[in-house]
Amino acid sequence: MKFDNIIIGGGLSGLTCGIKLAEQGKKCAIVSSGQSAIHFFSGSFDLLGKMDGQDVKNPLEAIKILPDTHPYQRVGIENISRLVVEAPRLLDRAGLNFFGKADENHFVLTPMGIMKPTWLTIDDFTRFEQNDAFPWKKAVILNFSGFLDFHTLFVQDGLKKYGVDTQIKNFAMKEFEAIRRNPSEMRSTNIAKVFDSGDALDEFAQKVNQLSEGFEVVLLPAVFGLFTKNVALNLKAKVNKPVVLLPAIPPSVPGIRSQILLRKRFEELGGTYFLGDNVEEGTFKNNRLVAVQTNNHGDIKLEADQFVLASGSFYSKGIVATREKLYEPILGLDIDGDTDSEKWLDEKFFNDQPYMHYGVKTDSGFRALKNGKPIENLFVAGSVLGGANALKEGSGAGISLLTSLHVAEQILK
């Protein structure tokens, strides 16, 4: 089966890259071993949130002093400045409305009740300009009775530090009685499905208006709009006070909606998305990857002119560590990481862990290395690239979005 480009990995990197290529008329396929980490999406994409433990005010400026091995440096500051404008536009064309600036982080309130710097935030959530104040003094935190994935006490504790007077209220509605019968299934996605399909939103908004009388702002878990787009916006229009949504424990409702819309955009552009399939091996010829073989398609190999590896980091098994070795499990590519397993971990858990920087080795053009030689038509994007501790820096989504756009540009050259 022949395509122009094949992308291994169907998460944020793979889909961004696939959409960009398909928008330029390429016939693309994405092979994804299962649903992606977008299901854990907090609602915001970070570019660079922290440096040496301090909040970053201007990510575009701060990027300049990152080490040369960092993916941003390897993409190049000029390219980054251009791509940070392009990324939200690409998302917008997929029907995902993000707001934020690359040269000035804004803040979002986390479910732990703290303010975190970030780059782009989806329109479900509220963007704050300051991290040392909360715009309202009296807040009500509302939760669905029996919903265990929204921890109201953390939010209350956090807001206390900003001098906010809060009250927690739980409420029940008959529409949720059915899913409550099974406590382990009283989840954000199942609550969202009730709002998606029925007319529960009107009654719910009325209830919110009653319960929030005497308060300036309402805080709610983000359980609105799984398969339907505008539920959160409709709710905000029906409630007579500002509504601040907070992420609940994953799977994330805005995340799944984002995944669905990105995949839909890719497929509408003519892309083929193979879900639940694994690339098992590649056929190499003269330093080129000619075809890949997958579990589902067996002897019918998938061929392409260029390939992109966007298979994720350890969690997605884009790279794997056993007691003996660190390796890239799909194509056997070179790994940028320590061969001595003693050096993988820092015994202090919260320190910058060395293994978090590991990834697939590439040349300066983001081509993967195999046995020290670049594979001419195999590019690497997203968190499978080494060189950054995305968790410490708050840079995961930025690296995924910008390296995949950069790689797509290399392919389109």
């Binding site: 299962g34 299934e185 589902n296 019918i300």
Partner: protein, 419 residues
């Protein structure tokens, strides 16, 4: 190399330890969405397995609400065989005996043989409302359901009388696993397959005594009989694939999925020697065309607007791309893609009175999509999806092979390889 990730050193018989509790599977479970009595794939599968391994009394009969669509497995980012874990738990731990109704629904071979023999009598009788109400009351087969009509002449009989002798005229040969539906209910689909394969230059042969793949026996808990039939079929496949070097193709996505994957995973029947060469006819044809060995010529006046529905087992196999690619090759087809969703029937599941509401609830988003798509008909590879869509929407359903057969210019196609 990727295989390594599914075989960690600490795994049990099934890989439930690989579950990281991300709960993504529960989002895509079609049953959970409409019936909260079902504990969901994570609870029923890996979570419950942990408990059942300690004490089998943790087994819960609500696992029967799983319709075995495997959409949880397709969604799982860590390759956990959630659907298999649930089915195996039912096989190992369920103490409830199958009811008379379950045996009637599951024994498609025996019932099919009897019913097709008396087709002119059986068809009108089972379609009568009082009869359906009686089946509803006595057997708990929902009265909304109408059984597919039985054919007067079985496919096998037709083949022996009218087709068998011509098949030796070809240089290349395949065997055809027709399945119960083609044999007892809808021989036309088998005839269409022979028409296409003959036009492509292949002689089509039947297996030495094929038996029902057993999917309905498995889902109704008749495991001993299913295992017996599986062993029989694997031997019959071997005679074709290993002894005669003839691949086996089929037109039923569920039969072929069961033979390839459920035999080893659920019944413990090994099929290594035959698995790679047991496949769907659409995949067989796609491979030939994709590698330049075959070209199909289509009629110029064929014009239809068609929506393709991805059956759950096609989603799991990942093979709907072959059927849709073939359909898109027909110049006169205006192709509409439907969002891949379960139709709710799941073989015999939706025929049972207790599942009727769930079944229709699961299928509703698909039915709505079909009704609003302004098409001539729906294309799909699964016979039970076909019944469900025809029972629940105003549209007719055709198999991709039948569509190809209708649109194919046989003479022009044959000319291409005969010269």
């Amino acid at each position: 190399m990727k295989k390594e990730m599914f075989e960690p050193f600490n795994s049990s018989d099934n890989n439930f330890e690989q579950c990281v509790k991300c709960t993504i599977c529960t989002v895509y479970c079609p049953v959970l969405e409409v019936n909260p009595d079902y504990p969901g794939p994570k609870q029923s599968g890996p979570d419950g397995e942990r408990l059942r391994l300690k004490d089998q009394n943790f087994y819960d009969e609500s696992l029967k609400l799983c319709l075995n669509c495997k959409r949880c497995e397709v969604a799982c980012p860590h390759g956990v065989k959630i659907g298999d874990i649930i089915q195996l738990a039912r096989i190992k731990y369920s103490k409830k005996k199958p009811k008379v109704r379950d045996m009637i629904l599951a024994n498609t071979d025996i019932v099919g043989t009897m019913a097709s023999t008396f087709a002119p009598i059986v068809n009108p009788i089972v379609a009568l409302k009082p009869v359906r109400l009686m089946m509803d009351g006595v057997l708990k087969i929902d009265h909304h359901r109408i059984f597919p009509e039985y054919a007067g002449m079985r496919f096998e009989t037709w083949y022996r009388r009218y087709a068998a002798s011509k098949q030796t005229d070809f240089k290349k040969h395949v065997s055809y696993f027709h399945g119960c539906y083609v044999n007892y209910n809808f021989p036309k689909q088998g005839k269409d397959l022979i028409k296409i394969m003959n036009a492509a230059g292949y002689g089509v042969h039947l297996l030495e005594k094929e038996k029902c793949c057993g999917v309905a026996l498995i889902s109704n808990g008749l495991i001993k009989q299913a295992t017996k039939q599986a062993r029989h079929n694997v031997e019959a496949f071997k005679k074709s694939i290993v002894d005669k070097n003839m691949p086996v193709i089929s037109t039923s996505s569920t039969c072929i999925f069961t033979i390839r994957d459920e035999y080893p995973h659920l019944l413990g029947v090994k099929n290594d020697e035959i698995r790679n060469e047991s496949e769907l006819a659409t995949r067989f044809l796609f491979r030939l065309i994709d590698s330049g060995k075959l070209k199909l010529v289509f009629k110029k006046d064929y014009r239809k607007r068609i929506a393709y529905h991805t059956p759950c087992h096609m989603e799991k196999l990942g093979w709907s791309v072959y059927s849709t690619a073939l359909l898109k090759m027909i110049p006169g087809i205006d192709f509409v893609s439907l969002e891949s969703r379960c139709c709710g029937i799941a073989g015999t599941y939706g025929f049972k009175k207790e599942n009727y509401k769930t079944s229709q609830g699961v299928g509703k988003p698909l039915f709505d999509q079909i009704e609003s798509s302004d098409i001539d008909f729906v294309a799909t590879d699964c016979e039970t999806c076909k019944w469900q869509i025809e029972m629940s929407t105003t549209k007719k359903v055709e198999h991709p092979i039948s569509i190809l057969a209708e649109a194919l210019d046989v003479e022009a196609t044959v000319k291409l390889w005969q010269k």
